[in-house]
């Protein structure tokens, strides 16, 4: 399938682990500072070779799919979870393995940012730092695949990762169909490996995207999908130039084939009830795997969404009628959807610099009625499943990529903090551009 990983061998991942691993500062602080640059490629994150056999011992483990296992141990080998053990103690850990003591802590899968521009944008107002939009006028840019532009050196990556975001869907924007969504693990500096899969979804936006009209937007999208079907079934006629004009460039229509085949989802931003219903209808008509983003008024059509089995990814704090498409916005949106049986994801939409606040958003949803476990799933497993990435991400199970976080307490609570963040089996270093700026001036203040 086109959305599973295609590029890195297991051996490659092991080498990567060596390059990015850094021993836990909580268990062995002296070693955390003992970075040996000679082991890392120039420019890569300061590293220290780590055992690839890691045990996160004794935590209250949230598997991500709603289940909680108290006093459990996550065993990691290489980049993957090997097992989640119950009734395991420090004494059981093999002597050559590395241990992270999570006793009294909470362990969750790494949080996942949905619909982000991570790696494609450093400073929003500076065009020279942006690659999230193919800057042409066409409405249909489905062929745009920005994964090759993802910048592993972006300062945003580690800043999010240190606060528990370990993976992200990286979506382009602009036009009615913006392009292909990449899936990354937040490995700052890992140029060759940051992209886990280059095309896991096609992203678009309803509303007044086409011809300044909501109706024109829907009919244009329908025509695009029809023409993609036509192109697929009559490719040779197209090659012989015996086909009528199509609604978009062939390359952009071809990129929709996996969407038509149901191999990857179409993620659509839509807020107004009429747009949400139109999206459901299109999904039914073309048998698409649809994911709704934003969904300000989704609670109003929750029964319909539940019947269609569509996931909605919301930003719970968005409760204002910021336009006439979102007059029905409300804080209980996530809870009402969940109650009706809709799979609800939670994200910070439109602020790549603070994707990290997804857990605060989840906390807000929880304080307005979403069960806490569902809120944790909403920033882990639900997002992975929405993008068709739950075979590898979003939960802690044997065979999954070892992306996980050891929290000091309730992961949704503002007083809690990640004490260890593990991405692809290795603990990430506890420094970021922000922490270094902070320390520069903290030192100055303290030596005043």
């Amino acid at each position: 399938m086109s959305h599973t990983r295609t590029h890195t061998s297991r051996r490659g991942l092991r080498l990567l682990t060596l390059a990015i691993a850094c021993l836990t500062a909580s268990t062995s602080p002296s070693r955390a500072d003992a970075g040996d640059r000679s082991e890392a490629p120039a420019g890569d994150t300061k590293t220290k070779a780590a055992a690839t056999h890691v045990f996160v011992v004794g935590g209250m483990v949230h598997l991500g799919d709603g289940r909680i296992v108290p006093n459990a141990t996550v065993e990691i080998e290489g980049t993957k979870v090997v097992a989640v053990h119950e009734a395991y103690t420090l004494a059981n850990v093999p002597s050559d393995a590395h241990t992270i003591d999570a006793t009294g802590k909470i362990v969750t899968p790494g949080l996942i940012g949905a619909d982000t521009s991570l790696g494609l944008l450093e400073i929003e107002m500076e065009a020279s730092t942006r690659d999230h939009s193919r800057g042409d006028d066409s409405l249909v840019r489905a062929g745009y695949r920005p994964s090759t532009a993802i910048n592993a050196d972006s300062s945003l990556l580690q800043i999010q990762a240190l606060e528990g975001i370990t993976s992200a869907a990286v979506a382009p924007s602009g036009g009615l169909l913006s392009g292909q969504v990449a899936w990354i693990d937040l490995l700052q500096g890992a140029h060759k490996d940051i992209v886990f899969a280059p095309s896991v979804a096609v992203d678009g936006r309803l509303g007044q995207t086409a011809a300044g009209s909501r109706a024109a937007t829907i009919s244009t999208l329908r025509r695009i999908l029809q023409d993609a079907r036509v192109l697929r079934s009559r490719a040779s006629a197209y090659e012989r130039r015996q086909l009528r004009d199509l609604a978009a460039d062939a390359a952009d229509l071809e990129a929709l084939f996996p969407v038509l085949d149901g191999k990857i989802p179409l993620t659509l931003t839509a807020n107004r009830t009429s747009d949400l219903l139109a999206a459901l209808e299109l999904a039914k008509e073309f048998d698409l795997r649809l994911v709704l983003l934003g969904g300000a008024e989704a609670w109003r059509v929750r029964a319909e969404i539940a019947r269609a089995g569509v996931t909605v990814i919301v930003q719970p704090s968005s409760n204002l009628p910021r336009d006439f498409d979102s007059l029905g916005s409300r804080l209980e949106n996530a809870a009402l959807l969940h109650e009706a049986g809709v799979k609800v994801g939670i994200a910070v939409l439109g602020d790549p610099h603070n994707v990290r606040n997804a857990r605060q958003e989840a906390g807000i949803a929880a304080s307005y009625g979403l069960p806490r476990e569902a809120a944790i799933s909403a920033v882990t497993h639900v997002i992975a499943a929405a993008y068709g990435m739950d075979q590898s991400h979003g939960s802690l199970e044997a065979g999954k990529i070892a992306n996980l976080v050891v929290w000091s307490g309730d992961p949704l609570e503002l007083s809690s903090w990640p004490e260890a963040v593990i991405i692809r089996g290795a603990q990430i270093p506890r420094v970021s551009r922000q922490s270094q700026l902070r320390d520069r001036y903290l030192r100055r203040l303290r030596t005043r």
């Binding site: 500076e126 409760n319 009628p321 929880a366 903290l442």
Partner: protein
């Protein structure tokens, strides 16, 4: 009374400078309902709000966080006629005073936001609702936020539901000098900015550094650079200084004339509403609120302020304030900041979560502001993030310290600290009852009081403020309510 105010009075003009200066002394602790009828020519004087405040209430047995350093594990707050009379333990209600049992809850002062554009950038974000930037020239000190404030902005009730009782409404930051801000209280059902005006609060003057004026005016005659920005600021203050000098000269000549030392009355100085604002700043009647991100620019603005003899009351956004924390402490300039916004433009690229903590450590005055109608709904959570980030690096910040970032420090920046911002006898009875520790993500304001009057109750929709805009969208619910 200051020179500007006195002279403008002499001229018989109903000036806002005069009115703010007077109002400040007139009604320090007076609930608006008790005030004399307003002078209709003076638009900054509060009218009588349709819903009166100034009630009496005893809130009992709560964890009382006063924002003065004192926290009572189980304490009471007694408000009489809108004014806090006593904070203590085992207080008894005077006859006829309602008692609210707040056992297990936490009580704080009403939160105060130093930076809001509600009313001037209302929801829905229609072009017709864009009333915050008079972007016709880089210097528009004559513009007043109170004249653009739409009290039916449906965002406002949500701020109250978040425990916010007062806010400064500012012009935007397109201009070097965007105009006057106004401080409002969220009295229910007000119909104008005048009715919402915080009694006695001085106006502010909004200034901006950096990218925004450059971007807006770079192709429209400038400023195009930070050099141009500062030159523009300096030019404005030179003009203000000259205006003040002319007014003073006029006053001297007028005095001579009244003493008979001069035959003819001097020609009065033509009133200039913009220069009057700047003169008010130099005189100390109007507080400067300066949108400024970068440390170097803040240092420049502080030295400019010194040159013209005023103090910047608060920098706003100030993502690099932590770099000049000792200098801000020494100048007595507050920093109104976000907990974690950063990176959306170059001048915000060095933002850190520990900005407030480092300011606090240096003895400066951090304030958590929103600049957002979403953020204003949970100033408590934003302060929490800033506080916990500081604690994690070993800065000792108490809950009460962090509470001041959204109450008493903000009150100080807005010039209302004598009457608001803490739970202390003599201050306005603005308070919030929270279901739990306000620094929890699960915290909710359950009841909000303004001057002793319940203006929001989470469990009672009838008390929840609404705006005209929010009426009429849910006809089924409306019909249901009519049928009852």
């Amino acid at each position: 009374m200051t020179t500007t105010a006195r002279i403008v009075r002499t001229l018989g003009l109903a000036a806002t400078v005069a009115s703010s200066a007077c109002a400040h002394t007139r009604s320090q602790t007076t609930a608006p309902s008790e005030q004399a009828l307003p002078d209709p020519g003076d638009s900054s004087t509060p009218l009588r709000p349709p819903v009166r405040v100034g009630a009496s209430v005893l809130v009992k047995s709560a964890r009382v966080m006063t924002a003065t350093g004192l926290t009572l594990d189980e304490g009471d707050v007694l408000i009489v006629d809108g004014v806090i009379q006593e904070v203590g333990e085992n207080l008894t209600a005077p006859e006829g005073v309602a008692v609210v049992d707040a056992r297990g809850k936490t009580v704080t002062p009403g939160l105060i936001d130093t930076h809001s554009h509600m009313g001037v950038y209302a929801s829905p974000g229609l072009r017709a609702h864009s009333d915050g930037n008079e972007a016709v020239a880089p210097t528009t000190p004559y513009a007043r936020a109170q004249d653009g404030y739409w009290p039916q902005d449906p965002q406002i009730p949500w701020a109250v539901a978040g425990g916010v009782t007062s806010a400064q409404i500012l012009p935007g930051s397109a201009n070097l000098i965007g105009g006057r801000s106004t401080v409002v209280k969220f009295y229910p059902h007000v119909r104008s900015a005048a009715e919402a005006h915080f009694p006695g609060a001085p106006d502010g003057m909004k200034m901006a550094c950096g990218e925004n004026p450059k971007r807006v005016y770079g192709d429209k005659g400038g400023p195009q650079t930070r050099m141009g920005n500062v030159a523009g600021h300096r030019r404005a203050f030179e003009d203000g200084k000259n205006y003040l000098r002319a007014l003073r000269r006029y006053e001297e000549e007028l005095d001579k004339y009244t003493r008979g030392e001069r035959d003819e009355a001097p020609d009065p100085v033509d009133r200039d509403l913009g220069l009057e604002t700047i003169a008010g700043v130099i005189e100390g009647d109007i507080f400067v609120h300066n949108h400024c991100y970068r440390a170097d620019e803040m240092l420049i603005m502080m030295s400019l302020a010194k040159e013209y003899g005023f103090t910047i009351r608060s920098f706003h956004h100030a993502v690099e304030a932590y770099k000049i924390a000792p200098e801000l402490a020494a100048a007595g300039t507050a920093a109104s900041i976000w907990a974690d916004w950063w990176g959306f433009k170059a001048e915000a690229f060095d933002g850190i979560r520990e900005n407030a903590a480092l300011l606090f450590l240096a003895g400066a005055r951090p304030i958590i502001h929103s600049d957002s109608a979403i953020g204003i709904q949970r100033l408590n959570q934003e302060a929490a993030k800033a506080m916990y980030a500081g604690r994690r690096i070993g800065v000792e910040i108490s809950d009460d310290d962090a509470l001041r970032w959204i109450t008493s420090n903000a009150a100080w920046a807005l010039g209302v600290d004598e009457v608001a911002g803490t739970l202390s006898p003599g201050k306005m009875g603005d308070l919030v009852i929270w279901n739990t520790n306000p620094f929890s993500v699960y915290a909710k304001a359950e009841q909000v009081f303004i001057e002793g009057t319940l203006v929001y109750d989470r469990d009672d929709p009838a008390t929840q403020p609404t705006t005209d805009f929010s009426v009429g969208w849910d006809l089924k619910a409306a019909q249901g309510a009519n049928d009852q």
